[in-house]
Amino acid sequence: MEKGYLSLVLHAHLPFIRHPEYDEFLEERWFFEALSETYIPILEMFEGLVRDRVEFCITMNLSPTLCNMFADELLRNRYVKHLNKMVELCEKEIDRNRFNPEFHKLALMYYHRFSSMREKFLHAYNKDLIREFKKYQDKGVLEIITCGATHGYLPLLGINKEAIRAQIRVGANSYRKFFGTDPKGIWLPECAYSEDVDKILKEEGIKYFLMESHGVLFSRPRPKFGVYSSYYTKNKVAVFGRDHESSKSVWSAVEGYPGDYDYREYYRDVGFDLDHDYVRPYISACGARIFTGIKYYRITGEGNHKEPYNPERALDKAAYHAGNFMFNREKQIEHIASMFDRKPIIIAPYDAELYGHWWFEGVSWLNFLIRKICYDQKTIKLITPSRYLNIYPKNQVINPAPSSWGYKGYYEVWLNGSNDWIYPHLHRAQEKMTEAANQYRAKGDVKERILNQMARELLLAQGSDWAFMMKTGAFSEYAKKKTVIHLERFYLLKSYLDKGFINYEVIEDIERKDNIFPEISYSAFQSQ
């Protein structure tokens, strides 16, 4: 009989980036890369686990923006185009490395990866990843949870309660549309929580949410079981806290597994290494070098010298690291369980894109871990938060501590000199949105259409990704543009509403570009 539980939670999210107005758009590649390196490999892992009848369960957040991208025909077709190019590059690489055996082997590996992925995406999945993920949820091995509609940073938007409600409600409705059932849990964007968010979660029918460790540890009153149990907020929404230990061994760029010298080196990529003329068709349209995903080296060591990547050796290491992770969790559970009158739960949440994209072997590691937990030990058992709540429906009531999982544990990453200028704009737009939603209460006419599009634009401007990118500096120019462009579109639409002068062509154009949440109702922004 198990002594405690481990809940693996993967947070899969990308901002909504889709530019039909361009033939090719650099930032759309993030989605394509994540598909090839993370989302499809995870599906393949599920497929293998189910085929081999491994007993397991795992929790995944598929953010509403990501689901809308999965469902988008334009992006699906562009992904196929992207895969075609990748296969073409792999073919060239096979030829080019013909007399270079160590690399030739790797070129073949990539060719196989990309061509079988294309085959699968087109024919097995019929380009529909949502259906695939849903399949595993229906089988009971995967619990999919939702997220704020566009990953808006709730504590900083929360000047207007309606803004929080709209993020939650539109996110939950999007989930219902895609998965045909109510979302049990929610991944609060960046795990950012502020007082009273739980009240809105309750109103929108959410049963549980996840927090950073100190969100639970610093809650009032003192939480009896630390982060190793569920709790209820006073509005009776369940809450779980992240375990720091299990996070560190995977997350930390220094001490974590992904930095092992046998693993693939992310930064050595043919997009940067090869002759410009040769890779030109496969890098950005303007000719700037970018990562292509074809990488031939392992981390090797601290210095610049890199040895060729050895997939077998890396896989062995992933298996070893999975064993190490499992062993540590067993010890942890044994220790904690001895002090508790209930079976503890370890919540181990990660960004999904860490697996496969940043840590190439990450999905294999996960695969080994899940299999080992099933076959090699008896101390821990995999569980999802909602199943834990079924076992322990009675929980201590706490007031969770406002916090986030960002650097320094609070809101600073999203509120500092590089990005604080966005909030005066966002807060005013939120207010205007609620005013308009209260005032018009339009139904079935063009005003409703305008209000719905205004809601989409505002939600898109609210995404926390833009503030994050401004802070890190990577792609900050693009992030600024996104924030401003969506707000500009918002005000343009609002002027149609206010002045009664309506340019239908412009509305159509905006709807075509920002086609997220086709089912949206602007009433999500109405005051209650």
């Binding site: 270079n100 009896k224 760029a253 002090m339 994209h357 909030y423 994050f468 900050s476 707000l487």
Partner: protein, 339 residues
């Protein structure tokens, strides 16, 4: 600005003078000089004037950290969102348990209104301040019933400020306003009320849900229990502080857009070689290199590139005519080495 002045020419000018003077009054001479040049032909009512000299003054005020508005924020001017809303509002947001952020947007009209309500003899040397109220436990704030307050001198044009309140889990409200040398405060706008996030383990213990103190700290991973529970609490809070300051998620959050910190920034030089094998034959001939078929262009030419690492290589190129009657073989060889 000119437009506004023409509406109420005299009054505005006077007010400008009053405040301008006052805002210059208490800064160091050096800063004053700079300030003058910044404000010369400008007005505080216009689009924000971001001046680095503002930082100098903030050094004097312990409670204030003015995060200089970076170039990044100025870039924003390129896009066409309103720079000002002039809706007479001041808003506060919590940044963490110790700091709050505030931004304000006050119309000229509102400033005029407040100033005209001040008796003329009290109008001299007005200075902009933020008054930060501690409202913990107070249900209805009437401007007078705060637990305590402190003031911060500001540059009105900065439009935003970071305030070190230094106390977690307390409620705050901020007013922006003018103060005269005798200390009389004239409120221009009042903010929303927020609470700073909690920090530290709660001392409130729910009896139904309690573990013995020693066990509790073991659950939290503290084995060196120290002498008192206060010591343990401190130790644990120290650990948490370290944990949240180590970037466990910062390269993963919004992960694809973020660049993982690259460890290597030493000088480097990489040199690789490739070999281009090219030639021509009849367009309908068959050509192979070391047994592998090569695609010919319509004019019968071909070109292939091979990675060329250190070593000895030969490339047996064979061409066979369409009717199979003619066969030509050529074998270029290369020795690649480092001197």
């Amino acid at each position: 600005m000119r437009k506004v002045s023409s509406r109420t020419p005299k009054k505005t000018k006077n007010i400008k003078k009053i405040i301008k003077k006052s805002s210059l009054k208490r800064i160091t001479p050096k800063a004053t000089k700079k300030k003058k040049t910044t404000l010369k032909e400008d007005s505080m009512f216009q689009a924000p004037v971001y001046s680095l000299s503002a930082q100098k003054e903030s050094v004097e005020i312990e409670k204030v950290k003015f995060t200089a508005v970076k170039e990044a924020a100025l870039d924003n001017n390129r896009y066409s969102l309103p720079l000002r809303y002039s809706d007479n509002r001041i808003t506060i947001l919590a940044r963490d348990p110790w700091w709050i952020h505030t931004y304000w947007d006050i119309s000229e009209h509102r400033i005029n209104e407040v100033i005209s309500s001040i008796p003329v003899y009290e109008r001299e040397n007005l200075k902009w301040i933020l008054r930060v109220y501690d409202l913990t436990g107070i249900n209805h704030f009437d401007g007078k019933n705060a637990n305590s307050f402190f003031d911060i001198g500001i540059h009105f044009e900065a439009n935003s400020w970071y305030i070190n309140v230094n106390q977690p889990e307390r409620s705050w409200c901020v007013e922006i306003g003018l103060v005269n040398p005798s200390g009389k405060f004239f409120m221009v706008a009042r903010s929303n009320i927020i609470k700073t996030p909690y920090f530290g383990i709660s001392s409130i213990i729910d009896e139904e849900w309690a573990l013995p103190d020693e066990d509790y700290y073991k659950v939290l991973g503290i084995y060196d229990l120290g002498k008192s529970s206060l010591e343990r609490k401190r130790k644990f809070e120290e650990i948490v502080k370290n944990q949240i300051s180590s970037p466990l998620s910062s390269w993963g959050v919004s992960s694809l857009s973020s660049e993982r910190p690259k460890q290597i920034d030493k000088f480097f030089l990489e040199v690789w070689t490739e070999l281009i094998l090219y030639g021509r034959t009849e367009p309908d001939a068959d050509v192979t290199v070391e047994g592998k078929k090569v695609n010919l262009r319509p004019d019968g030419t071909f070109s292939i590139r091979y990675a060329l690492p250190v070593g000895d290589y030969q490339y047996k190129v064979a061409g066979v005519s369409k009717n199979k009657k003619h066969k030509v073989t050529k074998t270029p060889a290369v020795k690649r080495f480092e001197k």
